[in-house]
Amino acid sequence: VDYHRVTEEAAEGIALALVSSGCNWIVLRRLQRGEVADWLLRGSNGALVALEVSGLDAPDNGRRLREKLAQVHKARFDVKAACLVVLAKPQASLSLQEGDV
């Protein structure tokens, strides 16, 4: 299994579901690698939206999202958007047994 590809595909699925339900954007098509975005969508007002999607295992303080926004900014579409999906939720567990602390 190509772990990187699995992460990207999972991120794409979540991102498309998010913009579809949250923004009412309609997915038109996938773009080839080398274009400045991953997907072309149509907004509810008819605008063409270029969407770049990225997936991460852990939060990075928005660095990747800023990079992707800068990348998609070069696109010649009405709206340029980037979506970052963080797949692994940070979790800390602390368990104490009886005893003095």
């Binding site: 190509d2 098509r29 773009l31 080839q32 274009e35 072309l40 063409l48 579409f77």
Partner: protein, 130 residues
Amino acid sequence: VELESLYEKVSDAIFTAEGLEATGAPGAAEAYREVSRLEEQIAKLFPVGDTEGDLARRGAVRAALNAGDLKRADELQERYASDARATKDFRQQLEALWAEALPGSALLAHASHLADTFAFSALRIELMAA
């Protein structure tokens, strides 16, 4: 409806081609040829200068290059660039695809092939004139 269907097909075809290429599996070249054919069909539905149409025209050339079909990429680029409505910016975008897709040596080899072809054509014209 036709565009919707083509968009669905090209999305699937891109997914397949890039997946095969990433894993080194056989069939990537043929998959990219299919992407190029679909992009060409999409391009026919839009005039030159239209955002979606120009995206498809770039896509047709890009996929032909990824398939290693330089002849087809050259023909498509020539056709799209020679359209009177094509802007200088769009022509430059098409030219840039070659540099992106081909390493320097392959680009030189292609340029050499074109130069040979041109020289042969010029020679033939001269012979016919004589």
